[in-house]
Subunit: 180 residues, 2 copies
């Protein structure tokens, strides 16, 4: 899949097919997380891959949309080894979700509402925090899926986002749109 098209077409997918994801696909997604750049190359993350149904169901009680995890084929929990590392955690999450998308796998970040139970379920040590839980699986029928071929401009024209002129400025804040 084309890199730029993958980036601009990636959407959160919250409903998944029941089928498990192949081990090599899961490994490739984790490798995308491992390869992520980070401040001073500290790699302040640990990834916990969860595929056991009972554990996914238990994790579903710790997030605001339990259905995301009840339906997911797998989850990757991003744990951070530094409380200052949320930005780097977001970079790793995006890398893994984009890699998944390019491999035909939908995903969505889930912020825990109850980190205590997540800690217990995953046996997390005290010095790590939970950045997010990525639910994932093949998109269910009717869900968004990676486009086989599309013009990025056409994809961008349809997305549910603020227009560029509202979020991008030139030289100083609020000083007109960045687009020439």
């Amino acid at each position: 899949m084309d890199a730029y098209l993958a980036i601009v077409s990636k959407r959160e997918v919250r409903r998944y097919r029941a089928e498990p994801l192949p081990e090599d696909v899961l490994t490739r997604i984790l490798e995308a997380g491992r390869a992520t750049g980070s401040s001073r190359n500290r790699q302040p993350w640990r990834f916990i891959l969860v595929t056991e149904r009972a554990r996914l169901n238990a994790l579903s009680t710790c997030v605001s949309r339990p259905s995301n995890l009840l339906a997911s084929a797998a989850a990757i929990v991003i744990a951070l080894t530094s409380p200052e590392a949320a930005f780097d955690g977001g970079r790793a999450a995006q890398n893994m979700m984009l890699a998944a998308w390019a491999l035909g796998v939908g995903s969505c970040p889930n912020t825990p509402t109850d980190a205590t139970d997540v800690r217990r379920l995953l046996a997390l040590p005290d010095d790590v925090t939970v950045a997010t839980i990525l639910s994932m699986g093949r998109p269910a029928p009717g869900e968004r899926r990676p486009p086989r071929a599309a013009r990025p401009e056409a994809v961008l024209a349809r997305i549910d986002r603020r227009p560029l002129a509202e979020v991008a400025f030139r030289e100083t804040y609020g000083d007109g749109a960045a687009r020439a």
Copy 2:
């Protein structure tokens, strides 16, 4: 460029060619930021594109590696409209840096050491914070650049990162490598 190869081959680039980046390339990078997913689709970011030499030079005094910005053809400052948005800011940064990489542009995040001067230089309002300053440009001779063609596995075998078994676990923290 292939999406998965772009993701696993992306490296920080800190030395750039002097040539300016075309406006359409800059716009495509900003569009990759705009398209990023965020918690509740809040899009808690504003992007300030800086290409004026004097302003880039002034920004260089606000980061720990001034040379990154003294040499850059452009910078994109990611400002956050919520103090809780660092994770989403990291997602947007990764999207823009990957889009840049796929377009042949190197980049690197620079955390401001002095946000006060950044605020003044960019006329930032009080209610936004600076997540990072992305320096960017065509890679200088000898710098890393996007591979034209390579096997992702070969790229991953060479990267300066912890091995997968150290960062990825299965079902619970520390419970063996995630790779089967």
